[in-house]
């Protein structure tokens, strides 16, 4: 069973459905005991970093997430859910991230040549053998829709880069912790492939 953490920050349906068609049993929840009883968890999220952290705090979800990760159970953060894995964000005025991965979330510097948000289909440069990228070809297109990107302190956690003015971490991976800056649930068949790989992780 995969827990989809519903903390009131954005789209749960698409993530849920994408996991289901990838063969998963899912549970949309904001309860600590549900997260505890599930063997995997997904943290989606769209919106402001501060609001997201406040919601996680208010709903007492931070400790259950940290415990899930400490227990070595697979965890996937998507978009803002990925950014929350890090220590802090340039977007945040008050709140800190979960600190599961070391590093900061930064903002793209817009210019005449670089429009922000980074919006649309862009390609993955795969680094290493991340299990979520099994059968995902080099240069696959995925859908991005964001103004901020994570800059991991340990570059070793980067599983795929995308170029937008500069290379940035599109996928991070450390043991059973995964983060995707793009939306796999909106990236058509290639996104579903990655979801399926997550579902089939042991």
């Amino acid at each position: 069973m995969i827990a989809i953490i519903d903390y009131g920050m954005g789209n749960i349906h698409s993530v849920n459905k994408a996991l289901q068609v990838s063969g998963a049993k899912t549970l949309i929840t904001n309860k600590a005991e549900d997260i505890k009883s599930c063997d995997k968890a997904v943290l989606p999220g769209v919106g402001a970093f501060d609001d997201a952290v406040l919601e996680l705090k208010k709903q007492n979800l931070i400790e259950p997430i940290l415990e899930h990760v400490r227990n070595g159970k697979p965890f996937l953060g998507i978009c803002l859910g990925m950014q929350l894995l890090f220590d802090e964000s340039a977007e945040a005025k008050k709140e800190k991230g979960l600190g599961i991965l070391k590093g900061k979330v930064k903002k793209f510097k817009h210019s005449h040549d670089l429009k922000v948000p980074h919006m649309g289909w862009n390609q993955l440069k795969i680094i290493g053998a991340c299990p979520l990228l099994r059968d995902v070809p080099e240069n696959s297109f995925v859908y991005f829709c964001h103004s901020y990107y994570p800059d991991p302190l340990d570059k070793g956690v980067i599983a795929a880069l995308t170029n937008y003015g500069q290379d940035f971490a599109a996928i991070v991976w450390k043991e059973k912790i995964f983060g995707m800056q793009f939306h796999p649930e909106k990236s058509q068949s290639i996104g579903l492939k990655m979801m399926e790989n997550f579902v089939n992780l042991c």
Partner: protein, 287 residues
């Protein structure tokens, strides 16, 4: 490399596709989910659903529809039309849309843009701008627009002859219209574009009222003026009739996406054909 996006646009009324989609072999061309599935297969880059439902009570249907689409297709889509407040935006995003497009309410209450961008992130907020050329001797007039009450005139009224629209020189000015193209606002489109970007809009959906429905190509001058004024993505809309029109707008302006309705709905060209043509012209597309 970030690619240029090709976006079919669907008009929705009471939860159904209107403005005749004519797909061969499609059992129910009025079912937005069925139509969306076809475009998903064709690898359209995004979809835009424009709700033209008039009555407030029927807005619930829209939310249910958004949920249905999100459960059935795994591609990004934007929902717009009659979006009134923060609650509308939240409901649409939570139901599974990537982005919400605001138009009339953004003109009336610009703080809707800043507030929604703060809450949901700029990347979720699209401002739709319907713009119409103003003749050079005439400055944008203060809106006294009368509602015609007839949705069929959307983007259709007050259109001046195209040749006069195209004959303009460097003094070109465009005025922003709201209420589905029925009400002039007196706002200069370039100034308004700059303002919405500053307020936190993540994207502009720019429709040329002069070119919409003509199939004579996108409004290059307008698109150029807007894309040069802002550093957020711009979707060009209005006038697409063949693949060459997309390559023209992408090579002559820095538009990020091209939106069209009838050429795709009537299968005059498939999304794939347009993309293949663009690739032959070395414009980056996802294929």
């Amino acid at each position: 490399m970030l690619t240029k996006r090709i976006i079919p646009c669907l008009d929705i009324k009471d939860g159904r596709v209107v403005k005749g989609v004519k797909f061969l072999g499609l059992k129910d061309a009025g079912d937005p989910v069925e139509v969306a599935k076809i475009y998903d297969k064709e690898e359209a880059d995004e979809l835009v659903f424009l709700d033209i439902t008039a009555s407030f009570e029927k807005r619930k249907t829209l939310i249910e529809l958004v949920e249905q689409i999100a459960k059935n297709i795994f591609m990004p889509f934007t929902v717009g039309g009659g979006v009134g407040d923060i609650a509308d935006i939240r409901n649409i995003l939570n139901a599974g849309a990537e982005k919400v497009s605001v138009n009339t309410q953004a003109v009336k209450f610009p703080q809707l843009i800043s507030e929604s961008a703060r809450r949901f992130g700029s990347q979720s907020i699209v401002v739709a701008i319907d713009a119409k050329l103003v003749t050079s001797h005439q400055s944008p007039v203060t809106g006294n627009g009368q509602e015609t009450g007839d949705p069929s005139t959307r983007l259709g009224v007050n259109r001046r002859p195209l040749d006069s629209a195209r004959g303009k020189q460097e003094t070109d000015k465009w005025e922003v219209y709201i209420n589905g193209g029925r009400t002039p606002t007196g706002l200069d489109a370039v100034d308004w574009a700059r303002k919405v970007a500053k307020l936190g809009a993540g994207e502009i959906l720019l429709t040329s009222m002069d070119y919409d429905g003509t199939k004579d190509g996108f409004d290059i001058k307008l698109t150029k003026a807007i894309t040069e004024a802002v550093s957020i993505p711009v979707i060009a809309s209005g006038g697409a009739g063949k693949p060459e029109h997309f390559s023209e707008v992408f090579s002559k302006t820095s538009a990020d996406a091209g939106l069209a309705a009838s050429i795709f709905h009537y299968q005059e060209y498939s999304v794939r054909q347009v993309k293949e043509y663009l690739r032959s012209k070395e414009i980056p597309v996802r294929l």
